[in-house]
Amino acid sequence: MNNSHNDNQDNLISFLQRNQPIPPSAYPDLEQKIIDSLEPRSFRHRKYCKTLTWTIPSAIATGFLFTTVSMGVRTPRIAIEPKDLENFLVNNWQDTFNTHSTTFVEDSEADWLLPAVSESKQTVSVSSK
């Protein structure tokens, strides 16, 4: 059964191979036409692509390096010790106060610039009472 099946297959294949349709002959100028229509290889384009592939990542890397070096690597400082934190708060509050006091001083200075006479007059008047 199997042998006859194989024989049938072989017969079919040999029949197909013996009688396979033969393609018509090519147009006489086909070979030349194909060779003429081949595009020239663009080595420049490939070179350009290669250059571009290397230039972009290296430019990014250089920029990153430059930024890192010039700015320095900054990590935020965190007050771990309660004492540091206390100092920080005190300093900041002092700064705020100092700023305020400066304005106060400026005000007082402005007052100080007022003629001293009137002050003395007031004093006098009080004392006369």
Binding site: L16, Q20, P21, P24, L30, K33, E39
Partner: protein, 210 residues
């Protein structure tokens, strides 16, 4: 520098190929560098196989155009071909792609009539004319069988036709057919089995049994 080197090698190949015999791998490498003369040799080596495959897959119409398309695609794609020893498989793959594209075009109705209709109308007329002219010729039966094989192929689905043409007519091993069509070997075997059965049935309907 490399550009100059490549063009020098290409021109050297042009002169060498006119006289010397080169291996296929050398030819492919030279083609990758742009040697047209080497590509001409490759064309001469493979055009018959490509032509025959396309003829059996797509028929007579536009055959020259399809052959041209295959070789132009091959020239364009050659620089990307890494493993030169698979050139033959790769070229069959391009042929199959071109045949598939042509079939899609036909299916979309871009061509006014499908291949089968064309075949049945135009080529059938030519065949009958040939038969009439060759009535006294000794290979009348051979002509008749060739027509039967052509019609039998047209009778198969495109997938079955591809496998049968590549394996049984082009005599390629199943593994290579699988690589060309990008399908598992098991699928090749199964399609081959069904294609042969369909073909056998068709031949039996025409009065030929095995």
């Amino acid at each position: 520098m490399s550009e100059m080197l490549a063009s020098e090698q290409a021109s050297k190949a042009d002169t060498e190929s006119e006289t010397g015999v080169q291996t296929e791998q050398e030819l492919i490498l030279l083609c990758q560098q742009g040697a047209r003369a080497s590509f001409r040799l490759l064309y001469q080596r493979y055009q018959q196989r490509v032509r025959s495959t396309l003829y059996q897959l797509c028929g007579k119409s536009l055959l020259d155009d399809l052959v041209q398309e295959v070789f132009l695609r091959a020239w364009k794609g050659l620089p990307k071909l890494k493993t030169t020893k698979y050139f033959s498989t790769w070229l069959y793959r391009i042929s199959w792609n071109v045949a598939t594209d042509q079939r899609r075009k036909l299916a979309r109705g871009k061509e006014k009539a499908s291949f089968n209709e064309k075949y049945s109308d135009k080529e059938r007329l030519n065949y009958d004319k040939d038969l009439f002219n060759a009535q006294d010729a000794p290979d009348l039966m051979h002509l008749h069988y060739q027509d039967l094989v052509q019609r039998g192929l047209n009778n198969l689905s495109f997938d079955h036709r591809c496998v049968l043409v590549l394996h049984d007519l082009e005599d390629l091993p199943q593994k290579q057919v699988a690589q060309i069509l990008d399908i598992p070997v098991g699928t090749v075997k199964s399609r081959l089995f069904h294609a042969r059965n369909s073909f056998k049935k068709f031949l039996e309907q025409q009065g030929i049994s095995f």
